[in-house]
């Protein structure tokens, strides 16, 4: 694949120039070219949701998009939310408090999906939460504490 394109991506508020083959997936570009390895790849066909990032605030599958298609959009990955335990986003804090993660592989995608949900639906019902994360497969938690975490994050948000 000899033809490569120089593109400009806006990720987590910063602009990056990268040169990629047109067929390179956005997920691979974020991981390989920008070193943002918090975005995980679980199926490469848009089913598992591990590669979920926010594009102009909406959750999308970064494995279903080529990097060259993401020019001009505002991309947000898990790395944008916090650097350490000290500055966790309320959704991250709630996942920690409620044990909403185990192996952690689905967690970045799950957290970003939850963040987007709470921005559009500040007080979701349990059914709304389950619908919202239905495209994010978690193989460890059985979703019980994930749902609890998102509820707790919604409550924390309401109290803030």
């Amino acid at each position: 694949m000899s033809t490569r394109r120089e593109i400009r991506l806006t990720v987590n508020g910063a602009e990056h120039a990268v040169t990629v083959p047109p067929r390179k997936l956005l997920a691979d570009c974020l991981r390989d070219d920008l070193g943002l390895t918090g975005t995980h790849v679980g199926c490469e066909q848009g089913v598992c949701g591990a590669c979920t990032i926010l594009l102009d605030g909406e959750p999308i599958r970064s494995c279903l998009m080529f990097a060259v298609q993401a020019q001009g959009a505002e991309l947000e990955t898990i790395e944008s939310l916090a650097r350490s335990a000290d500055d966790l986003h309320p959704v991250q804090r709630a996942f920690w408090e409620k044990h909403g993660l185990q192996c952690g592989f689905c967690t970045p995608g799950m957290v970003l999906t939850a963040k987007a949900l709470l921005e559009s639906t500040p007080d979701p019902s349990e059914d709304e939460i389950r619908e919202a994360i239905a495209g994010n497969i978690c193989r460890c938690t059985g979703y019980v504490f994930v749902v609890d975490a998102i509820k707790a994050a919604a409550e924390a948000r309401a109290d803030a």
Binding site: K24, C48, H99, A134, V144
Partner: protein, 792 residues
């Protein structure tokens, strides 16, 4: 020595210390690791289930721009031995599982060649240019085909298609069947599915020619066993191999194997003289990692009029696929089924024949619960059938047959020692917690409206932390009965714990720290747990079989106990007190009853390393200990649980809606109830997946037809109900702190509980026997039609 402190952290519901790195996207899984000059591998995999390889032409692939190496099976055979994992059971027949197949392929997806290129995209392009010529052989696609007269043989020199044949007789089954008021014959089938971690397999190999050392980063549950296996097949000294398991995105048993791809990637890295990475894609994972659970059981049950099960005869077939897997062999599922089939029930007369069968399918290996989901399915369905045959309540039949509280420790008919348990209490408690009477009333109301609601039970006891004697009995070549830990205090008085188990969701960084901190009178933040690197952890086996908390937790407890003794002796020497009067707590060593008379543990640590002249005579400046733990008396410890569910079945769509799911479980003393709850939830969800959704379907040519997540359905948040969990704590008399293993348990009972519930739901249509899992919409419709036909 003084008694240990009153535990402060053991048993506390503390949140996990490891979470921030996962929450912030800073965890490091194998695909997140980049090595200088790293290349990327892709595998060429067999498209045919059974064939001779008559030729491999790599010319075009090797010439493709960006390709650095192509290797086929013949070249691989010169560089690595095949995986051979032999059981010591006399009827065993051996397989040789090559890193790349050279002469013959035995399942679709078996690796036949590998391409190394500058990036993964190019490696995949070039892998399509490798031309493999096959001369097809007849494929064996099922147990029935494998055991038929004149079946094609998969392995040269075998006398039939059985890896192993086992036969057990306990008590006097003939007499039990002669004396029975009635007998039943049941045929049951659990179909193939698997653990399917969200992170696929993957590894990076790097060979240092100057140092003659090989480093393998790999997504594994068993770093030391991978190292030993690699040393054997590569014929390298083991001290020249370092295996690092970084963060691992789920395992569930599937990543507890030495894989052909790991060997191939090591060989390729040595060949090209550069680091090589391989990350499995999802299709490869579904085709060629490890499958599980494919069992066929024929059960005969002898019972009395009062619902007592007198005797059991079982014939167990397990489809183990093409090769024996390392380090388990292909005997795990049959051996386990044979041993545990009577379950938590007092069945004294039992005969079992068990056969591990080879077929042209992906190799079968351990997955959360290993065989017990199928064994529990059989015995629980038998309990329901006895209830139906005797007209008794299924709850009552179970109650009459469960091992009673006064019978522990109870030796089962197969010689297992159930150390302790709460079999009756768990069943009664789950009925109370989930309000069985209320459920029944709801079911009646729904039936009056023409809706089909059903209630299902299942009970189990799970052998956990299998210890040395248990593995000797099974005839496995490696006895995984113990595990190990190093506890090391540094000059600042902080502690590093190195363990040979690997945590990939189980929370060991928190739970082991809870154990060690209590022993040393420190806080949780003073202890850091490290694992996954064979260069730092003592030799041990890894994480599987619900063993880590008991065995590596026990080893951490013992090693910390030795460090505690050193600190106590040193403190007593400093304070001119009697060691027997010393206590550790809040970061201090002090004389009991004299709180003012103490010394900071941090000071002791500093002095031990920097002022060794202060140490008592004979004490070395090494505040460190290594310990192993293998729970006495070597029979393991048994956890137990009861599950109860209420479902609604739509006979037209075949849909099963889970209205309620309740668990009462007993894993002895809980180190951290938050982690225990999470493990139960996750196990139940995987059990529900295997009971309703997940199936690896092979066609008659042994082609896998479920190779994407569109065909292989994993449960999502809308498929799993709010699972309610409560706990009993019957301490094990055999283990440190009475801890029992529990990681797998949740996955064992959902199959039988849901089968029972679906059958109960369909009852207004007519009587059927739900004998097959998973209960996909297609099967539920079929059972509904059968029920309708039976009811007419």
């Amino acid at each position: 020595m003084p008694e240990a402190q009153q535990p402060k952290l053991l048993g506390a519901r503390v949140k996990r210390v490891e979470d921030p790195r996962f929450l912030t996207g800073r965890a490091r899984y194998v695909d997140d690791i980049v090595r200088p000059r790293m290349l990327h591998a892709a595998f060429v995999r067999s498209t045919i289930a059974h064939a001779e390889i008559t030729g491999v032409d790599s010319t075009a692939a090797a010439a493709h721009p960006g390709v650095r190496a192509v290797m086929d099976g013949r070249q691989m055979a010169e560089r690595a031995l095949p995986i051979v994992c032999n059981s010591l059971v006399p009827s065993w027949q051996e397989t040789r599982y090559p890193a790349l197949a050279a002469d013959r392929v035995r399942f679709v997806g078996e690796a036949v060649a590998a391409v190394v290129a500058d990036d993964r995209y190019v490696a995949e392009d070039a892998s399509e240019l490798v031309l493999v010529d096959y001369a097809p052989l007849p494929a064996v696609a099922s147990i029935a085909e494998a055991i038929a007269d004149g079946a094609p043989r998969l392995h040269d020199g075998w006398e039939d298609n059985f890896f192993v044949k086992r036969h057990f007789v306990g008590g006097d089954p003939d007499r039990a069947f002669a004396e029975a008021a009635g007998t039943l014959q049941l045929d049951l089938r659990s179909n193939r599915h698997s653990g399917i971690p969200l992170e696929t397999r993957g590894c990076i190999a790097e060979y240092d020619d100057a140092e003659e050392t090989l480093t393998l980063w790999t997504a594994t549950q068993i770093p030391h066993l991978v190292r030993t296996g690699l040393a054997d097949v590569l014929q390298m000294p083991e001290n020249r191999i370092r295996v690092i398991a970084p963060d691992v995105g789920g395992g569930y048993g599937i990543k507890g194997h030495l894989f052909p791809e790991e060997i191939a990637v090591c060989v390729l890295a040595m060949e090209v003289g550069r680091p090589v990475k391989w990350i499995e894609d999802r299709r490869e994972h579904l085709l060629a990692s490890i499958h599980a659970r494919e069992h066929e059981h024929r059960l005969e049950v002898a019972y009395t009029e009062d619902g007592t099960v007198l005797g059991l005869r079982a014939r167990v077939y397990v489809d183990c696929g093409a090769y024996s897997v390392y380090p388990w062999t292909s005997t795990m599922d049959t051996g386990m089924a044979l041993g545990i089939l009577p379950g938590p029930y007092r069945i004294r007369h039992y005969e079992c024949e068990a056969y591990s069968v080879t077929t042209n399918k992906c190799p079968l290996g351990p997955y959360r619960g290993v065989s017990r989901p199928a064994a529990c399915f059989s015995i629980e369905r038998a309990m329901d059938e006895v209830a139906r045959a005797t007209g008794l309540d299924p709850f009552e039949v179970r109650r009459r047959n469960l091992v009673r509280p006064d019978e522990f420790p109870y030796q089962s008919v197969t010689g297992l020692v159930y150390d302790s348990g709460s079999f009756h209490e768990a069943l009664e408690e789950v009925c109370r917690q989930a309000d069985l009477d209320g459920m029944r009333a709801e079911q009646e109301r729904a039936r009056a409206e023409g809706r089909l609601l059903g209630i299902g039970f299942a009970c189990y006891t799970e052998q956990t932390a299998h210890t040395t004697n248990e593995f000797i009995k099974r005839g496995v070549p490696i006895i995984f009965g113990y595990d190990t830990a190093t506890v090391r205090m540094d000059p600042s008085g902080k502690v590093a714990v190195y363990v040979s188990t690997h945590s990939h969701g189980q929370g060991h960084e928190t739970t082991y720290a809870q154990i060690v901190a209590d022993q040393l009178g420190l806080g949780l933040g003073d202890v850091k747990v490290f694992f996954g690197d064979t260069a730092s952890a003592p030799y041990g086996h890894g994480t599987f079989a619900s063993r880590s908390a008991v065995l590596a937790g026990g080893a951490s407890h013992r090693a910390a106990g030795k460090v505690r003794e050193m600190l106590v002796d040193f403190a007593a020497h400093e304070l001119e007190a009697d060691a027997a009067d010393m206590e550790l707590g809040d970061g201090e060593a002090f004389v009991r009853g004299a709180p003012g008379r103490g010394v900071k543990i941090a000071d002791l640590a500093r002095w031990a390393y920097h002022r060794p002249e202060r140490l008592p005579p004979g004490m070395e400046p090494v505040i460190e200990a290594v310990a192993s733990y293998d729970a006495d008396p070597g029979t393991g410890t048994f956890a137990n649980a009861a599950h109860l569910t209420l479902v609604e079945v739509d006979p037209d769509t075949g849909g099963v809606d889970l209205l309620r799911y309740a668990v009462v479980e007993d894993c002895g003393r809980m180190i951290n109830p938050l982690v225990v709850d999470g493990q139960v939830h996750g196990g139940v969800a995987q059990g529900i997946g295997g009971a309703l959704l997940e199936e690896l379907v092979y066609d008659e040519n042994a082609q896998l037809t479920t190779t994407t997540f569109l065909d292989y359905r994993l449960p999502g948040a809308t498929d799993i109900p709010r699972i309610s969990v409560s706990h009993l704590e019957t301490l094990s008399p055999f283990t440190i702190e009475g801890i029992k293993g529990m990681g797998e348990g949740g996955a064992i009972a959902p199959g039988p509980a849901l089968a029972s519930a679906v059958e109960d739901a369909l009852r207004p249509l007519g009587q059927v026997f739900v004998n097959e899992l998973p209960l996909t919409p297609e099967r539920v419709r079929r059972f509904a039609e059968q029920a309708g036909a039976a009811g007419r």
